[in-house]
Symmetry: none
Subunit: 409 residues, 2 copies
């Protein structure tokens, strides 16, 4: 079942995408956003930075789709040809925006740099287009209404693209297509469960109702997206999902585990401090991504060397020698130690072997001990994660956040 009617295409421009030097996260981001708005994303094409390829891509996309989003190739260097190619395709000249140029000059001035003559091009846009001010970078975006269709051109720098989309471009697109039917959708996020297990618990009868269903595994998490055309169906599916998966659902919508944990701490007026070893700062980084985290996050200590575990966290040298740095006892002592050191209500200790070296038969690479401690009790978990160094670090952080969520909810 497709609940979408209007087709959209994404054209990402740049040799770096085709050569594989850059992972195309823009295509994923735009695919998600446009699907959520109610579009049927029908093609995504990566083109090299040549006028022929860009114009050809645009021509073909406009045959198939009513919305075409181009990204990339708006910079100041000679291989940035998107604005020229789009202007050529529509047979219009590029025009100069003085106000945009003054804005660029201001940005350079703020950074204390000379304005190179090459950036003049970043203030140019096709005559038939409407400029989209990029408050998050230098290059201007723009859009071109073309009969029933809409062409939108955005910078390729992922951060700028995302900020621009969220702060106005998404809304502009919705206004252009008032007949868009987003239907009813929800996203539900779960931790500590596998994809097949989610399917088993939802059951076959879950799919008696016509719905658009997607299940997506992430490290340590599973997300399910469900869409329905009718509100009544949507509500019934949501009810069923909640009833069948309640113990593993940590949130609905886009808030991640660290935001949910932060929210719980805030509501309970409790504070947190963490001590890390194998995750080397990743856990703290994940927790401090959340704006306003200073209201509940005291701080973190990454004690990479054993002597710091002893001198700063008070882990007994005897326990370290007897049980090893990677052990339940050390995880617990780290959690207790950082709680005392930083004066927080909750403490976390994570110690493990992220690899590639350091593993043994009894404690192979991927062995991780996680302790969560509060004034009243301490929970320690031994985990074994597969994967490379980065994957093991990520999964350890996710598991820790899951444990915090379970303790706090």
């Amino acid at each position: 079942m497709k609940i979408h009617s209007i087709r959209a295409e994404i054209l990402t421009i740049g040799a770096e995408l085709l050569k594989g030097s850059t992972l195309n996260t823009n295509a994923q981001y735009l695919g998600r956003k446009l699907t959520a708005l109610g579009f049927f994303v029908h093609r995504q094409t990566a083109c090299p930075d040549t006028c022929d390829a860009i114009a050809d891509g645009l021509r073909q996309a406009l045959i198939r789709a009513r919305l075409v989003i181009l990204t990339g190739g708006l910079g100041p260097t000679p291989d940035d040809l998107t604005r020229q190619s789009v202007a050529e395709y529509f047979g219009v000249p590029l025009v100069f925006s003085k106000s945009q140029y003054l804005r660029i000059k201001r940005i350079y001035a703020e950074r204390g740099r000379r304005v190179p003559s090459s950036v003049r091009i970043e203030a140019m846009f096709p005559q038939n287009s409407v400029p989209l001010i990029n408050r998050f970078g230098v290059a201007l975006g723009f859009y071109i209404p073309h009969g029933e269709a809409l062409v939108v051109v955005l910078p390729g720098v992922p951060d700028e693209l995302v900020r621009m989309f969220e702060s106005g471009v998404g809304g502009m697109i919705q206004k252009f297509f008032p007949d868009l039917e987003p239907g009813y959708r929800f996203q539900v996020n779960m931790a500590g469960i596998s994809e097949p297990e989610v399917m088993r618990r939802l059951g076959k009868d879950f799919f008696d109702d016509p719905c658009e269903f997607g299940i997506y595994p992430y490290p340590g998490e599973v997300a399910v997206h469900i869409g329905a055309r009718k509100r009544s169906t949507f509500l019934r599916l949501k009810r069923k999902t909640r009833a069948r998966l309640t113990d593993v659902i940590y949130g609905w919508g886009t808030a991640g585990l660290s935001e949910v944990v932060g929210d719980l701490l805030l509501r309970k007026k409790r504070t947190l401090a963490v001590a890390e070893s194998c995750t080397g700062g990743f856990l703290a980084a994940e927790l401090t991504k959340v704006p306003g985290c200073s209201r509940y996050f005291e701080g973190s200590l990454t004690a990479y060397q054993n002597r710091l575990k002893t001198s700063l966290l008070g882990v007994s040298p005897r326990v370290l020698a007897d049980k090893g740095a990677v052990s339940a006892e050390v995880a617990r002592a780290m959690a207790d130690g950082v709680r005392k050191l930083m004066g927080s209500d909750y403490g976390v200790g994570v110690t493990g072997i992220a690899g590639p070296g350091g593993g043994s038969v009894r404690k192979p690479v991927g062995t991780v001990f996680i302790a969560v401690t509060s004034p009243r009790k301490c929970t320690v978990h031994r985990a074994y994660f597969r994967g490379d160094r980065r994957q093991i670090q990520t999964r350890s952080v996710k598991k820790t956040l899951e444990m915090l969520w379970r303790v706090l909810r």
Copy 2:
């Protein structure tokens, strides 16, 4: 100038790519591999799983390119339509491979599972194709020589795709195109310079030599990729690049700033500890991504609250009150403090306002002070970064790594 002569296209199939539920890592992997083999990867297209879209994609790709790789849609579910679509496109029936079916049955038996009737399709391939045994999964791949062109169809599961490519498919492709010329290529990575400034310093005469040139900005960094057909040209371009940009080049190849910094510490037999505030663990996480970092990284302290800056890092309460937590003096005291606390050779202190709240007229959101201290001297830098919380954190981390690199090299 393109140093490649043979064009290749990548066709990735699946609604999950278009909806953005899955990040298209296959396109990146194949782009890298084909470029290294000497192909000019000219288009990458993501198609939905319909016969029309797949056949249309294949038809258009074969007009433009001599090598077309399709991935995905080889599974056993009703939305896996790639083999049927390819057979239909070439007007041939699907044939059944008994040996492949027996292999699939064996895999299921090993896992102790019943063979569902639906998997029979995974032993089918177009009559005009040569099957590619997939030793790493269930679905069969295949290839079809088509005049001067070659069509290769591989499973979409990233692990299976990668292993199949490395263990035979890449070699088969090279044999099919004996006239492939891989050419000569290098990548150079720079920090603390803007894209236009790189272009200005390379100069117009740099491009007198025929070369393939790409310049890519990342937060706080710029990468340049250069390729040439002849070895002598390649060497000349490399020499010129080095001469004109030597003060900003931190590395050649794929190693990032944190690896380069780690390598310098290791070679100098020096150790590092960091104290973070606004970056909240990101700097430590970046440094500990590198395998073997325990040989030079002592640890990190994220002192989110001022009282921890005082109690653990020894920042004087008077300085905090007079100058504010976001000041050159506090950054310096944090760097000195963590050096003493953890007994390292080098210390880093980062304090700033990542936002969205906490800014003022004199110190707006994005103001960051970074101090790098060694036994001999201390460097403090005041930076102002634009963007949201995450961007400011990322740019602060990059700037810190750049400062460390400058101090160490």
